[in-house]
């Protein structure tokens, strides 16, 4: 993450010639005998904020996990900032995840992938994994706390005792502690009260992406409508093309 929080983000145009932040081609992934992602292609340019919509069980989370190397098996090419991080592998989920994360991925997973015994502050620290972000963690924490001021009062509380919305804030905050160039946010509003879910989405929209990019998987299309650069549909493990024209009539393209 670069720069500060601004109220009206103006995503930069992707520079011609520069590699896309994320370039997936012919990706298949799954667990054991089950194939969840089918020969999928996706390009995400710098500064883009993309919505990924689709029903439960159609592979949104699996796509994110495949990028992080956490699925049971996968094949195909995944390029992060032009660097190949995809592997053809049949076992060892999570074995290379830390390397993918180090090359610039911040995965903000669905639900409560948290460390329930760590305090909020330790949790944010755990997101600062590179030596550089570890040294800079005080500043980064301040930045996260300006996005989620509510967490200021909870810094020493174990995360296991927080409410669902607070946990989600911690989880997103943890992702924002990094220098990542690609933020994958999985169902940020899932299981939250509508008001809190909207607040979480608002916070995500206010983050200045700079040259990084963000993909938000979300079922509640209304929350994303007109606020992301593209909305892509996902259906049985395949991307079904740009859904933005159909979904966001009042979107940026028109306004």
């Amino acid at each position: 993450m670069h720069g500060t929080v601004s109220a009206n983000p103006a995503p930069e145009e992707p520079k011609p010639g520069a590699p896309a932040v994320l370039h997936i081609s012919q990706l298949s992934a799954g667990y054991g005998p089950m194939r969840v992602i089918h020969d999928l292609d996706l390009i995400v340019g710098a500064g883009q904020r993309i919505g990924l919509v689709g029903l439960n069980g159609h592979g949104k989370s699996t796509l994110f996990y495949a990028i992080a190397g956490l699925t049971g098996w996968q094949r195909g090419s995944i390029k992060l900032n032009g660097k190949e991080v995809g592997r053809n592998r049949s076992q060892g989920p999570g074995r290379y995840t830390h390397l993918v994360v180090r090359s610039g991925l911040a995965l903000i997973p669905q639900g409560d992938e948290i460390f329930h015994g760590l305090s909020v502050e330790e949790h944010l620290d755990s997101g600062a994994f590179t030596a550089e972000s570890w040294r800079d963690r005080a500043n980064r924490k301040d930045r996260v706390l300006t996005i989620f001021p509510h967490l200021k009062t909870l810094l020493t509380v174990p995360v296991g005792r927080l409410s669902g919305g607070e946990r989600r804030m911690v989880s997103i905050g943890r992702g924002l502690m990094t220098d990542a160039s690609l933020f994958l946010v999985d169902e940020p509003s899932l299981g939250l009260a509508p008001k809190i879910g909207r607040a979480v989405i608002d916070a995500l929209m206010e983050i200045d992406l700079g040259n990084s990019a963000m993909v938000i998987a979300e079922q509640n299309v209304a929350l994303l409508e007109g606020r992301v650069d593209r909305v892509i549909g996902m259906h049985v493990g395949k991307l079904t093309g740009e859904a933005s024209a159909a979904l966001s009539l009042s979107g940026k393209e028109k306004g």
Binding site: G94, L107, I114, H116
Partner: protein, 293 residues
């Protein structure tokens, strides 16, 4: 029956067993590995300390350091042999147990072959002084053991609380999946875990060398006790391991003075079974991940 004698013995045993149990507990919860090679680490570091005393210096501090360092070395060795190659293969829990058990058996046989079956004893590490408090006589050995073990545990736990590696280890203990999502490399962290827990076993080996002389198979009983204390306290919980170590330390000391030392394992396992009947997840065991989430 001298009540103070029992209590002081119980405390000594509790700190040493606690050290072992915490090592096993940390390994289990952060790496998912039930390290059955711990007995070998124990014996190996005992011999390390003995060699230090023979060839370098019989001074207590040097012997202690020799034991701790060889324990850490042996932990790293087990990690390289039994964790790194198989940790992401299917059914790792069982394979890891078998691999570490194999290392234990091979290792103890190697020690037997190399050093022979005669047990060795270490020079007194804390000297021969004693303190009398009323009718309670505390030997330097007891005080030294307790202080050293507690000091080492405090240092290790402090390190886990405050350092970055410690944070990584604790994160892995709580949620390995989420740990890899935030970029914590399991293989890298495992070396830290295994060297730290190996060092704890090395410390326990040196401190226990007065009770269990250093012999190739000397690590077996302490390992069984360590594993059972860790189970009893709830695998993965440092606090539980400490409580269980205190309970079982008292049990051992009381059994020693009432019905005799050879019944210790019997009363100990009866007690553990009783505790696990009441609390199947151990004294302070973490709830299931599924229930916690």
């Amino acid at each position: 029956m001298d009540i103070w004698f029992v209590i002081s013995n119980a405390i000594v045993l509790a700190t040493i067993y606690g050290t072992l149990a915490i090592g096993i507990s940390i390994t289990w919860s952060s790496l998912g590995l039930l390290n059955l090679g711990y007995g070998f680490v124990f014996a190996f570091s005992g011999y390390g300390a003995w060699l230090t005393a023979q060839y370098i210096s019989p001074w207590g501090g040097a012997v202690l350091a020799g034991g701790i360092l060889s324990g850490a070395l042996c932990g790293v060795l087990i990690n390289a042999l039994a964790f790194i190659p198989i940790h992401d293969k299917p059914n790792f829990t069982m394979r890891g147990m078998i691999a570490t058990l194999a290392i234990n058996l091979i290792g103890t046989q190697a020690l037997l072959w190399w050093f022979g079956p005669r047990s060795k004893s270490l020079p007194p590490i804390f000297g021969y002084w004693k303190v009398s408090l009323g009718d309670l006589v505390l030997t330097g050995d007891k005080i030294g053991s307790v202080v050293t073990a507690i000091l080492m545990l405090v240092i290790v736990l402090r390190w886990m609380q405050s350092s970055r590696r410690g944070l990584e280890i604790r994160a892995m203990m709580m949620n390995p999946h989420a740990a890899s999502i935030v970029g914590i490399g399991v293989r890298q962290t495992s070396f830290f875990v295994m060297s730290i827990t190996g060092a704890l076993a090395g410390l326990a080996a040196v401190l226990l060398s007065n009770t269990y002389y250093i012999s190739p198979f000397g690590g077996l009983t302490p390992m069984i006790k360590g594993v059972s204390i860790a189970l009893c306290g709830g695998l993965g919980s440092v606090r539980g391991a400490v409580i269980a170590a205190i309970i079982l330390g008292f049990n051992e000391a009381i059994t020693n003075v009432t019905i005799g030392g050879r019944y210790v394992l019997i009363t100990q396992f009866l007690l553990i079974i009783a505790i696990l009947l009441v609390r199947p997840r151990g004294i302070a065991g973490l709830l299931d991940r599924a229930r916690e989430a």
